[in-house]
Amino acid sequence: MKPNQNEPPPPSGPPRWADRLLEWYCSDRFLEEVQGDLYERYFTSLSHNGRFKANQQFIIQVFRFMRPFRMKKLEDLIRPQFYPDMIAHYLKTAFRNLKRFKGFSFLNILGLTLGMTACILILRYVSMEWSYDRFHEKATQLVRIHGTEIRNGITENEIDINTGSAISVLLKENVPEIELSTRIHPWYGEMVVTTHEGTDNRTSYFENNGLFVDRDFLKIFSFPFVNGDPGTALTQKDQIIITRSIATKYFGSSDRALGQLIRIDGTWAWHSFTIVAVAEDPPENTHLDFDFLLLIDHVLDHPQYDEDDGWGWENFLTYAQLSSGSEPGLVIAKAESAISSYLPEDFVGDNEYSLSFFPVQDIHLYSLAENELKPSGNHEAITFFALIALMILLIAWINYLNLSTSRAMQRAVEVGIRKTIGAFRQQITMQFLFESLFLNSIALIFAIGLSIYLEPILSEVIGLDLSQTYQNNSLFWIGFGAIVLIGALLSGLYPALILSAFRPVEVLKGLRNKRIVGISLRKALVVAQFATSVALIAGTLSVYHQVSFMKTDDLGMDLEHILVVDGPKIMPEELDRTGRYEKYKTFKTTAVSIPGVQQVSASGSIPGGGYDWGTELRGLHQPPEATQTVSIIFVDEYFSDTYGMELLAGEDFDGEFSFRPIAWVNEKVVEVCELGSPMNAVGQFVAVSGDTALIVGVLKNYAWNSNRKEVPPMILTGPDPGSSDKFSLKLSKGEYAETIASIEATYTSTFPGNPFQYRFQDDFFDEQYKADQRFGNIFSLFTLLALIVACLGLFGLASFTATQRIKEIGIRKVVGASIGSLLVMLSKDFMILVALSIAIGLAAAHWITSSWLEEFPKQIELGLWFFGWPALSVTTISIGTIAWKTIQTARTNPVQALRYE
């Protein structure tokens, strides 16, 4: 309550220091009247008694007024910032302003809504990726156990998630902190499942998504059940658990499935099982996937493993539940010492077998292994996406700030009046902050609605079903809410401060604020937004180009028109190995004679479908340290022909394979075993898994696992009839329907009782690129959003400038300027900005894209398209935006503009 300075003060006043003392101690409640009275008395005394006496009296009075009740209290020092009673009024004002400036408000809310929606959707995806395997009851105590062999000081199999079968049991028995443990052995191959055996409804299906597990599996992992009792579900060998979808597929409903018998024929099992429980389909957000669960005993009793000491075949995933509060480091030490006495003989000596624990919750995002059950996520990419989400939100707020500040003048008169009738500056600031919160809340509500609506589309874009996840991340969304709150306040703060600073006198007199506040800041922001858009466009194009390049580039083999048929699992029992081999031959011979079929081959695996056997490889003259991993596929003599592989040296696959250890290697083998040229390599021997194999041919490198990765050393070798899992049939171009029908007939007559399942090799192979395509999709989504947001920003800026220059435009029109020339004149400034942002954006994009491309062995070149398209599209869009607004302005009647005074 300072005195109004509208009249000159009286010539002399009471002693300054005493006056100030009064002001210091006296509470605001009394100060004005006390001080006023004292002043009045002072001047009266001054004229009667003279200055000295008057001063004296004043001073004495100042001291005598010191009473406890008059002293300043806490509430005088803290002036209330916000008067809650005003909320209703602020709300009303905010509403009225919304309606008054409909266009501007619409733009503002639109920008905020889009930004928030984008942020919410992306964070939805991010939070899902972060949520993998957190729903298990004891999630934090679950680990997977990896073993690393150190022979003669060399660490082998560093990123091998598989171990032998012995560890799980050993550790559970000998280490108290390991409460539960289980092994998981995937089915590794197709099995045929037959339902309603012995009835007319007998149906067979190919399935490959099953797991063999220990009894502790259901206790360690919390997969919910539809029916059946998890406690007793997997206690006997003939029991099986299926999932809801399988139950529905086979029997129509989960309830009907319970108790039914199904028969499985495949590598590991050849008999019937009883369905004792139906589990819910595993959600998206776990690294495990299964349609069937069986006891691991089937695997352990199988000939492949029954003579294994538990350390040789490392095909098992070992998981354990640690007791709560246990220290992983200590447990590992205990575990290592526990197993040391059980290690097989060839380990003892200088060799070590060290263990490591990998938390189950981290597997999805952090595991670098390539053979996880489901494709892993990448924690770097996810963090990157989260940051981008927040950046988009930030840009939306910056736009809001921009737009609000540029329209500040509209509220100037209101502010002036408010101040005149007594509002403090802080109250006005509060009012505009409140309006900002209000706008943000409206935008948030729309954004939430929009994201719920768009969630299925998001699921499609990223290729994951978001609705099929178990998530409890209320914490995450509360955090998000807090961010929104803070952002709304911060972005509203700047305009609020500017608005509240208006001087009422100037404003009400009609003086316009000539200073254009923060124009350079806004220009910089527009540049940043467009640069981001440019970079994103370039990035999206790069991803698509790289993916299509990888798909179409020379693979070293020809995958077109190849039909892949799954091999039979159900064979007559009396047939032995040779007998089955003969059956395959029959099929092949018959099939190749079908018109439309050019070549038929049988193999254990197909390109893009993994390997048959992974083991050690070393050139004979090389030291042990040079041992590499080699992937082996079992094929027949028609394989290289079917797939169009090129032979560089040596003989082609001959007609009669005897079961000698001979190998067709690829160039990569020649390279890593240091065998010289392909010509030299033929006739040499290499050490493979403890045996020696003779190289009879060298094949040109082929990208078995797509061009995404480096070509690995690979060996194709003679048939192991037991592994003829897949038939590859090369078809001639044309109508396939008839050909396929004939093939099916041949198949079912040669292998009765087996379902006929086929797919096209090139489609199957392309699934390798799913992750990259998903990445590309998400990227284009970002790009679209960023562009829209940037345009809004530019539009706001353009409309502001247009309003500022409305008089100028009016005069020019009167003098005779055409709309075209006006357009050019108004756009000039912006074009410079756009050019600048293109330059920055392309530079940044080039740098980032180059580093991303380095992860691929074969890269595209960043040619003209990389620079041209983004520049062109951004320029076009920005010209369009500016033009729209400027044409609108240029068309206005000059009379109206000039009347605007």
């Binding site: 005195p3 006043g13 004005e32 009247e33 006023g36 009275d37 008395r41 009266t44 009473r67």
Partner: protein, 112 residues
């Protein structure tokens, strides 16, 4: 009744507030009291009495106009309330009652 007791000085101030009807604020009250009673009264004690009277509900106040001699500050004007009026009446009637009870004797004291 505690807290609504009207002290001697307070009664004085209250009376003058009623007398000055409409123009009663710190300065005028002090001057009037000094003029009427002949004793010197400090502005601060008058302000304090007014504060207490207002707390007891015997006076009401509002901020009036500012003037130059006050350095542009407004004055707080006081007016007596009905409760204040009642309090005065009560105090007065109490005094009268006691006075009436005094035995008739003259106030000329003899020294013996």
């Amino acid at each position: 009744m505690k807290g609504t007791y009207l002290g001697e000085f307070e009664e004085l101030v209250l009376l003058v507030v009623a007398i000055l009807n409409g123009n009663a604020y710190g300065v005028t009250l002090t001057e009037e009291i000094e003029a009427q009673s002949g004793r010197s009264v400090s502005l601060s004690s008058v302000h304090t009495a007014l504060y207490r009277l207002e707390k007891k509900g015997f006076v009401s106040s509002h901020l009036g106009e500012a003037s130059n001699t006050r350095g542009g500050r407004r004055k707080r004007l006081y007016a007596i309330t009905a409760a204040g009026h009642a309090a005065l009446t009560e105090a007065n009637s109490l005094r009268n009652k006691l006075w009436n009870k005094l035995p008739d004797f003259d106030f000329n004291f003899n020294l013996s």
